[in-house]
Amino acid sequence: MSDPESTHFGYQKVAKDDKQNRVKAVFDSVAGRYDVMNDLMSLGIHRLWKRTAIEMSGVRKGHQVLDLAAGTGDLSSRFSTLVGDDGFVLMSDINAAMLQQGRERMLDEGHSGNIAYAQINAEQLPFAENSFDCISIGFGLRNVTDKQCALNAMFAALRPGGRALILEFSKPAPGPFKTLYDTWSFQVLPRLGKLVASDSDSYQYLAESIRMHPDQETLKGMMQEAGFERCDFRNLSNGIVAIHRGFKI
């Protein structure tokens, strides 16, 4: 029986109240070089995963989109183009340093008018019920302390007919590919982190947090528990990443 007051921080067990601060410290540390490291970590494939997520989002002109854990805004940037002048994208992150990076990037790319920024905790969404047509969270859910609470909040904030989209590292199918992936995550990645961002601990945490994240079927079950219907997931790159999708009917 696990202690209800503790949670995982990578492979360590920490007090629930402490996790948020530790995650904050990790992302404060990597914010400046987040994009470069993402490219190095995934060999650039994260761009293809995000592109597939966008295609599965079903976002249309005029939609209201909430992008949680938006980071440097890879998804928000594309949503902003898709919703057009009549739509709206709220780019959010719990981490101020990451949000600042994302905001600067959006302005540099010329996205304005249909996009706003907010520092938000995904577990406590400050919105009325039925506010958004699509809520996405890309590579963010595993850093959330209480994932079920975040899924419940996402469900409440969605409009009927809207969908939630969760892009997250998952459990790859067993085999030689998995061994290669483990070697890459635990041997190469922390060293790369040290080399590029002078911070191996943060990247060690990123690799560990991926292993502690619920697998495809468990996360699908959690979405169903939150109230989502027609839940499905799509494995990408042999299951290294999965995109979960659920609708509020």
Partner: protein
């Protein structure tokens, strides 16, 4: 794999657009529109969504496109090399569905990309070398074009005049006119015969 294809097309399109700032500026007029390219015979579709920083390319969108351009990959390639979309349209090789005005103007924008290669080269090699290389390439292209035209003309003359294997334009026109006249005469004769037969059967 499909995501890689659309990502590659997007990267190439945006790289080309970044080399032509005027077209990039014109692209703003299409912000948020969905233009679908349907590559006939391949089953492949691409959706182009122009935005503030270039064109986003997707393989599938749930929303219907504002306009669909449907043609074989070869016809698209020809348009990309500067052929007028309207030429392809009227020759029946290109089909436009939805907002046809949007399809026309967007096709013209892509086909009319004007990239100053000399300027791009100058950024790497300096003005002097870039100008010399560009002049060399320009005269090379001119020579190729002249040679192509001359070869075309010489071959035509050889086949028509020397070995007389093919008719000249004048002879061809004359023959086509004669065929037309003969066809009309036959049709007139046929009508006359039919009229005579009708009168005979009425008596």
């Amino acid at each position: 794999m499909s995501a890689m294809l659309s990502a590659s097309v997007e990267a190439v399109l945006n790289r080309l657009l970044s080399l032509d700032p005027i077209s990039l500026q014109r692209l703003q007029a299409y912000h948020g529109k969905r233009i679908e390219l349907d590559f006939k015979g391949t089953g492949m579709r691409l959706f182009l969504v122009p935005g503030s920083d270039g064109i986003a390319v997707y393989q599938q969108l749930e929303e219907a496109a504002d306009c669909t351009l449907s043609a074989t990959p070869l016809v698209f390639a020809r348009m990309g090399m500067g052929a007028e979309a309207s030429d392809q349209l009227f020759s029946g090789q290109l089909e436009i569905r939805g907002d046809t005005a949007l399809g026309h103007s967007f096709g013209r924008l892509l086909a009319g990309l004007h990239i100053d290669w000399e300027e791009q080269l100058a950024a790497i090699s300096g003005d002097l070398i870039a100008h010399n290389i560009a002049s060399g390439v320009r005269s090379g292209l001119q020579w190729l074009s002249d040679t192509h035209q001359r070869l075309d003309k010489d071959l035509k003359e050889y086949l028509q005049e020397e070995v007389q294997a093919m008719p000249s334009d004048y002879e061809l026109q004359e023959w086509l006119q004669a065929v037309d006249t003969l066809r009309d005469d036959v049709e007139r004769l046929q009508a006359r015969v039919e009229r005579l037969q009708a009168r005979r059967s009425a008596q």
